[in-house]
Symmetry: C2
Subunit: 653 residues, 2 copies
């Protein structure tokens, strides 16, 4: 029976450590400089006081840092720390019976009750002082050791009031805290992981464009060297990230034609997602775009403008990909000897071979995937947009993202998983920095509010950062079909002010709105051909520049801001407060009606704004500079889409 004894029975109960994702199985996420507040339920049997600390460290083998936690009442304790660099951290809560504090507490009560000379209690104090002194001496702190030994000698000679004065002094208490008896220290078996990412992971504005279309004349493919004007355009619009569809050689076998035709015409340039050809595969640059040196030059040119380059990482192969010849074992083979192309019966995708991630040589394939990502990190890339990660094993992503981050902890990964919620969330849990979201199809007021609340929910907010895109090269949402500029302005306003991360695919700013019904695809999509585009056209560029400028200036629109919805008297008008980490407050009022002027009363969420009912306050529209006086009740608003689609108010007073 003896063998069943617990090895180190914990003296203190520590439970309910939060935040935690799936009980600590997956990391909570923060960015550099963003504090992590930690709470736990900590208590002990009986009447002893306890000491509770938050422990944290970077990587598994670093030294633990210790922060005292505060007693929040009802056995709940809280503390926080702020990580200052990227990496995988862990944190936990430790506690022990506070022998010295308990002694002082009881001594104080007995002194107040006048219980005699308390000689035995003073001697008990001297005992713990001598023990603490010994610990200090062993740790080399001879001053503390000497001070405590002197106190141990003094204590038995004092009367209770004098003894209490001595031991209640800040000096004695600091020594007790520092050198106290921790023999009954309790630490949970498992620490909780924390992934600290670059600030860009938490706050970013993306601009996607096809470099081959940089000329915009619809005729001549451009090279990476010819993208300067697009980079300046993205910069002028206020974006942080330029995202390029795959820049690798494009397959010829079963190449798709214009508008996704199953056969292509001579001269058709092919979809960049059909990766791999004579000129190479995932580690090569399409010769039509230039050389590896050109690519590095592009990354550097962008960075000089304050733009990070996001590379597309699409794990699929055209039949012409070198892996098909070099590693046939990485693909599914059929009984007739052919390689299995992608299909979702009865649909067939003969231009694409999916990889067989569980093949007998899976380690070889996974290693190649990792090495490919590291290769591009070596070329200066720090941001990856991962294509359809939900069609590859989650376990592979969990492994490969962790391995990349060991060398490049600042790497950012955007998950393009337009799939069911469980998979979408899970990819965020296992390490993707950001996630494409359902925003693209959330267009009504109620469904938008509900979706944002869901994303702000605990614990979703702890691990998933939605990135709001009104469009992508694959998706011209119904909402945007042949829609007027105001509709594009509305969707941009929502994306840019509801979430810290948003993005557009180029052409959006020029209100490109022609679909290929019945699919939500672009007519004459850039995926398969060149398009005319005039970068000097007005479109809604002024509005987008203004949105991005406001985002940069206002912490409330960045990583740590909260969204709180207010009431409006109109089903097409939304109002929401954004509250920043330092109490900075914005109020966004936006119409969803791109056709008609709407007017209604707006009741801002007063609690969130810190405004009393009936109180007046000045607001400044950050998009226009206009100022008004509002009050903590109903306020009249009129939004005429021919003039404006939104107010982004700063609460001035």
């Amino acid at each position: 029976m003896q063998s069943n004894f617990p090895e180190h029975p914990p003296a203190v109960v520590i439970s309910g450590i939060e935040p935690a994702v799936d009980g600590g199985r997956y990391p909570v996420k923060r960015v550099v400089g963003e504090p992590l507040e930690v709470w736990a339920t900590v208590f002990k049997d009986g009447h002893d006081l306890i000491s509770v600390v938050l422990l944290w460290r970077r990587e598994e083998k670093g030294e633990w840092s210790e922060v005292p936690m505060r007693d929040l009442g009802n056995d709940r304790w809280g503390g926080e720390f702020t990580p200052d660099r990227e990496g995988l951290y862990e944190y936990t809560v430790a506690a022990w019976p506070d022998r010295e504090g308990t002694w002082l507490d009881e001594f104080r009560k007995k002194t107040a009750a006048g219980e005699g000379d308390l000689a035995v209690e003073r001697e008990e104090g001297a005992i713990w002082l001598r023990e603490a002194s010994l610990r200090a001496r062993q740790a080399g702190d001879v001053v503390a050791a000497r001070d405590m030994m002197q106190m141990a000698m003094l204590l038995p000679t004092l009367d209770p009031a004098e003894a209490l004065e001595l031991m209640e002094g800040e000096g004695a208490r600091a020594l007790a805290r520092r050198w106290g008896d921790r023999r009954l220290l309790t630490v949970p078996e498992q620490a909780h992981p924390l992934l600290v990412e670059s600030r860009l992971a938490g706050f970013s504005a993306w601009y996607e464009f096809f470099p081959r279309n940089a000329r915009g004349d619809g005729k001549t493919p451009a090279t990476l060297r010819e993208c300067t004007r697009v980079l300046h355009h993205a910069k002028a619009l206020g974006f942080d990230v330029v995202y390029l569809p795959p820049v690798h050689p494009i397959g010829l076998s079963f190449r798709k034609g214009k508008n996704n035709a199953t056969t292509c015409e001579p001269g058709d340039i092919g979809s960049p997602w059909a990766i791999g050809g004579e000129a190479g595969g995932h580690r090569d640059i399409d010769p039509a775009l230039g050389t590896m040196e050109d690519f590095r030059g592009f990354v550097e040119e962008a960075r000089a403008l304050g733009l990070e380059t996001a590379m597309d990482f699409a794990l699929q192969c055209s039949p012409d990909h070198p892996w098909v010849r070099e590693h046939p074992e990485w693909f599914h083979h059929r009984p007739d000897g052919s390689i299995k192309y992608a299909e979702n019966p009865p649909k067939k995708y003969q231009d694409i071979y999916p990889l067989h991630f569980h093949n007998a040589n899976w380690r070889g394939l996974w290693q190649e995937i990792l090495d490919t990502l590291l290769f591009w990190c070596g070329q200066g890339v720090r941001v990856f947009r991962v294509d359809n990660p939900h069609t590859k094993p989650v376990a592979m992503w969990e492994w490969v993202l962790r391995e990349v981050r060991r060398k490049f902890p600042e790497a950012v990964f955007l998950s393009e998983a337009f799939t069911r919620p469980a998979m979408m969330r899970h990819l965020a849990k296992i390490g993707f920095s950001q996630s494409y979201s359902y925003f693209t199809w959330r267009t009504g007021k109620e469904e938008l509010q509900q979706y944002v609340r869901e994303l702000e929910e605990w614990p979703v907010r702890q691990y998933m950062r939605a990135n709001f895109w009104p469009n992508t090269p694959d998706i011209l949402a119904y909402e945007l079909w042949n829609a007027p500029p105001a509709k594009f302005g509305i969707r941009a306003t929502l994306a840019a002010t509801l979430m810290p991360n948003w993005g557009i695919y180029s052409g959006y700013e020029f209100v490109e709105n022609k679909p290929l019904p019945p699919k939500e695809e672009y007519l004459d999509s850039e995926k398969y051909q060149l398009r005319e585009r005039d970068l000097s056209a007005p479109g809604i560029t002024v509005h987008i520049s203004a949105l991005n400028a406001v985002r940069r200036a206002q912490p409330a629109l960045q990583e740590r801001g909260r969204v709180v919805f207010g009431e409006t008297g109109h089903e097409q008008v939304m109002a929401y407060a954004r509250v920043g980490p330092e109490g900075d407050r914005l109020l966004v009022v936006v119409t969803l009606d791109a056709e008609n002027a709407v007017e209604c009363m707006v009741t801002p969420p007063l609690d969130a704004l810190g405004v009393a009912p009936g109180e007046s306050f000045a607001v400044e529209d950050l998009l226009t500079g206009e100022t008004w006086t509002w009050q903590g009740g109903g306020n009249y608003v009129k939004l005429d889409p021919t003039e404006r689609v939104a107010h982004v108010f700063r609460i001035v007073q």
Copy 2:
């Protein structure tokens, strides 16, 4: 880098297994015969179908049982099993890509789309059939092996429609399910614990009495042999458990006098919680009560009446306890050589020595605690009421309860932890079967409803079974001070119909209501003296008998019943539905006003009762046999405490 590969990368994602207490750290609880429904989020990358099963087994080394789980939509799966004996179980969810099902699904779609002769697909079918046949052969199922080999030979010879007919047949599908390819089986690292207890743990009515007071003449102490009339009394009242305060020798040193006086008079009988004297300690019977044989006789006599005996387990020692001499190391010693008595400054409890659970010989002490419990199990005891468990280490209880259950899995433990919520809940998590609760002080309608909702909440309901006591020897709640019989009837009704577990301390049924102000204690408490009590007095015995009879007859009032509150037009009237596992429905309407008649309209919770708004239904008052016609809207109720305090309606129609 190679060394960082996961050993067995899971092919399927399995997460969010529920129910789970603290992510599976602590067991979910059920009783014998009560089903455990399990849910999990399970999904895989790509389009493959998956197979998902619930695995469960008793004890760590038993064989796993397997139950298929159902697809509930949105990647959520569910399944259940019903444990048929007490013990520690574990359960988990396993899944794998359903290669055979995926093949069939795609074959069906391609056949429907008329995609040629599907020769390659048929050959792929023959391949998995041959592999499955081999698995069957290796497992010794030669019939299945032969059948599948024949199908493998047949399949390539059939046209698609014939092939589909063959493979869609129940025979082929059953073989595929049984012998399918599970090489990519995914099982979570850690299974979840489940504690299956006796039915008594989930449904019980307790009657506490001091055996020494069995005569009830206020003068002569009774022995265990003289308790027969009290046992018959408890039986007549309909209780299941008779709970005795400690039956061990009582200390003489610092013995408390009547009404908790710090000094005792000659002849004072002492508190049974001051355990240990000349005649022994925790394994001995107070000679005044009889012998060990008498005790066994009591347990058997009670059991013959359908009453389990609950023993008090109070881990503290009078200064006269044999452990004080034999194991001085189990106690706290002070610098002056004395043993530290219990205190909570400035309060002193000199008649009690607390144990030092973290002493150097803690294993010896813990083993003795375990052996003591096992000793009493050996005397026939299966129910323990544990005194103040929150003043002893939680780790000790977790260990000792588990060890007792290894030998006596039917043992039931009631935790008397009138302390803060975190500790109260935690003791339930680590293994206590039932918990004393705050019911004793929840007297208003709102606070009662809120408290019951909290106890019914997920996941509290999964691990904590509150036991509702209107009184205890330590607590005569303010609500009951000098209160009339109707108040006692009200509180009994609430306790007995809101929770599957309730209890009273004797005298309650006779409306003993005299306090010792300002404390919520009884005047002339039985803890320190004998009391007069006439077991033939009427009191509210008829009401209590009726309540217990209804509880036994109605599954809705037992372990798996749910509480759903309805609306009443009166702040002193509560109405709640109790819904049983098989859809049986009760409606309780109870007044909280023991002084005045109340009348109001009652709107039952229609959804819970399965009644349409406006629909009429017959109700039968199970306390009186009267019947009425109610309707799914407002119903007039009058409760006059001089006549009745409650209706307990059964929905007849």
